[in-house]
């Protein structure tokens, strides 16, 4: 496999996506909403007097709310004051699965643009007549979706860490983020989820005609993220270090199976029939 060919495909795909506003606007907006605006809201809100008075009238005790969780999770929150508990629990624990929206969204957008988009714009035929091998075309396109997804996720993580620690310092009195469970989430689960997004979109792209159809169908994977959010909130899943490694390993195994299916589907003989 020639590195130069892979690089050419990767650069071309990213250049194309960067010039498609429909594709990149969500990529720019989502991190700002999820990883700057929302954490800022959760960290600044408890300091406002109207919020404190509202909380006082509702008699909502965070300690009591969290008491439904399993003991090993509750141990995470031990020693925290009521003021510290809300940002700690929400931003450090419950928010973690939401973070996976980022790799999933970026990989789905770029993969939909790269695979279904070529078909929609009738450029696929020209690509199939190029000297690039089937393996080079597939790998170049997968990397074009995977690398930005992982890259944007890590950047978002750095942004989130900076916001939560900067705005959270007055409440927590220390640099408190990230919690241990975030490390496998970022460096083990995130790449697996990004690849899952790419491969599912490749499979969907083989059956649909447009970028938007592929993106929307691939976006169904967000249900997976929602499942993790609900699982965490109910205490059914605990995203710690060990559980994070296990979940990541399961996702990599699913990726491996999907990759084998995609490799069977992605060849000139099949693709030329879809031109």
């Amino acid at each position: 496999m020639r590195t130069r060919v892979l690089k050419a495909i990767l650069q071309k795909d990213l250049l194309e996506v960067s010039r498609n506003r429909t594709a990149w606007v969500p990529v720019a907006v989502i991190p700002l909403v999820f990883f700057v605006f929302l954490p800022a809201l959760f960290l600044l809100l408890p300091r406002l007097s109207f919020f404190q008075s509202t909380m006082a009238t509702t008699n909502l005790d965070p300690v009591q709310v969290l008491s439904v969780l399993p003991d090993e999770i509750k141990a995470l929150f031990s020693g925290l004051t009521s003021d510290q508990l809300i940002p700690f629990a929400i931003l450090g624990y419950f928010f973690a699965p939401m973070f996976l929206v980022m790799p999933l969204m970026v990989s789905s957008i770029v993969a939909a643009e790269s695979f279904a988009g070529e078909k929609e714009r009738k450029t696929l035929e020209g690509l199939l007549y190029s000297p690039a091998t089937d393996a080079e075309l597939f790998t170049g396109k997968v990397l074009a979706a995977l690398l930005p997804a992982v890259g944007f996720s890590i950047l978002s993580f750095i942004l989130y860490t900076a916001v939560t620690n900067t705005l959270g310092y007055p409440v927590m009195g220390r640099l408190w983020f990230p919690l241990p469970g975030w490390w496998p989430l970022i460096f083990w689960i995130t790449p697996a989820v990004a690849l899952l997004g790419v491969l599912v979109t490749v499979l969907v792209s083989a059956r649909v005609a447009t970028f938007m159809e592929a993106y929307q169908s691939g976006g169904m994977l967000v249900l997976l993220v929602l499942g993790l959010v609900v699982g965490q909130a109910t205490g059914w899943i605990y995203l710690g270090v060990l559980s994070g490694m296990i979940i990541g390993t399961i996702l990599w195994l699913i990726d491996w199976l999907l990759l084998r299916i995609c490799l069977r589907l992605f060849n000139r003989k099949v693709l030329i029939g879809k031109v």
């Binding site: 495909i9 071309k12 190029s130 003989k269």
Partner: protein
């Protein structure tokens, strides 16, 4: 350069190629003519290794497309009916992408992009996005892309079918220049018979995946329309009984009158002087004598008629 022997290819119940045999020689412009669905695009796809034949054998540069598809595609260029350009990229960016895939070195690539854009009078539009180009310009960029890596062989699949007459003429002139000056072999698939007549050294007519005839236009004309046709223009009114008087001329096979114009079929060009002498002796005042070559269109329609095609 290209060889197909008894190649068959079916898609489901549809037989796209049915025992097709062809040979294309180095340096020639070879035309594959046929109606839509005749098997022209399938032939190009097979030759580029996009899928295998069901039976028969084929080779390009002496290589089997199924095993050496990448090498064949690296040594050939292609222009399809639609230009297949990335519209959000500029002309230069499109060319750079393909140049990188073809393995042209960075230093040479910059120079080649300039050369090919210059060749097609596109250098001033190099940095503009292709989306703003006319159809003719897009097809010129696509042709520039096909030539970027200086290929030995050029596949052209209906290169002008979506163009207006002026753009089509420009593209045809470029194809002719590319072939003549670069000594490249051109494999042209078209149903535009006038285009084929202007460009091709040899043609093959196919229908339903079968070869109906193959040869130079002159060879096909000689085989299908033996003899020579000559048009003789005379000043009117023409003398009476001219047909009767020249019917005794040696070699006369047919005659059609249209006012003062006679279209005659003769056995041989050497029969023309005797016919002209007879007409003059009969009092006809001749203003023009012109042999009428058989057009590719006539050859094509006769072939299709003879083989039961819808004409």
């Amino acid at each position: 350069m290209i060889q197909l022997d008894c190649v068959t290819k079916s898609f489901g119940m549809t037989r796209a190629l049915d025992g097709l045999s062809l040979a294309v020689h180095p340096g020639e412009i070879f035309g594959l003519l046929g109606p839509n669905g005749a098997g022209k695009t399938t032939t190009i796809r097979l030759l580029n290794g996009l899928f295998p034949p069901d039976s028969g054998s084929l080779s390009v540069f002496g290589l089997d497309p199924q095993n050496h598809g990448s090498e064949i595609r690296a040594r050939s260029g292609i222009l399809t009916e639609t230009p297949a350009l990335y519209e959000r990229l500029s002309a230069a960016e499109n060319l750079r992408f393909y140049g990188n895939i073809c393995g042209i070195s960075q230093q040479k690539l910059v120079q080649r992009i300039f050369e090919v854009l210059n060749l097609f009078n596109l250098e001033s539009r190099a940095k503009e996005r292709v989306a703003g180009f006319s159809k003719g310009m897009k097809q010129r960029v696509a042709l520039a892309r096909a030539l970027l890596h200086d290929p030995e062989l050029l596949f052209l699949d209906e290169p002008t079918s979506s163009l207006d007459p002026e753009s089509a003429f420009q593209v045809n002139e470029l194809i002719r220049a590319i072939s003549r000056e670069g000594g490249r072999t051109v494999f042209l698939c078209t149903h535009n018979l006038l285009e084929a007549q202007r460009l091709c050294d040899r043609v093959a007519v196919i229908d339903s995946g079968r070869r109906l005839a193959c040869g130079t236009p002159a060879e096909l004309a000689a085989a299908l329309f033996p003899g020579v046709r000559v048009q003789i223009d005379m000043e009117t009114p023409v003398p009476t009984n001219l047909t009767e008087k020249i019917s005794q001329c040696r070699g006369l096979r047919s005659i059609q009158w249209d006012g003062g114009t006679a279209l005659m079929g003769l056995a041989d060009p050497s029969d023309i002087p005797a016919v002209v002498t007879t007409l003059v002796a009969a009092g006809a005042r001749i203003s023009r004598v012109e042999p009428q070559p058989v057009s590719l269109e006539e050859i094509y329609f006769l072939l299709r008629k003879n083989h039961g095609g819808q004409v």
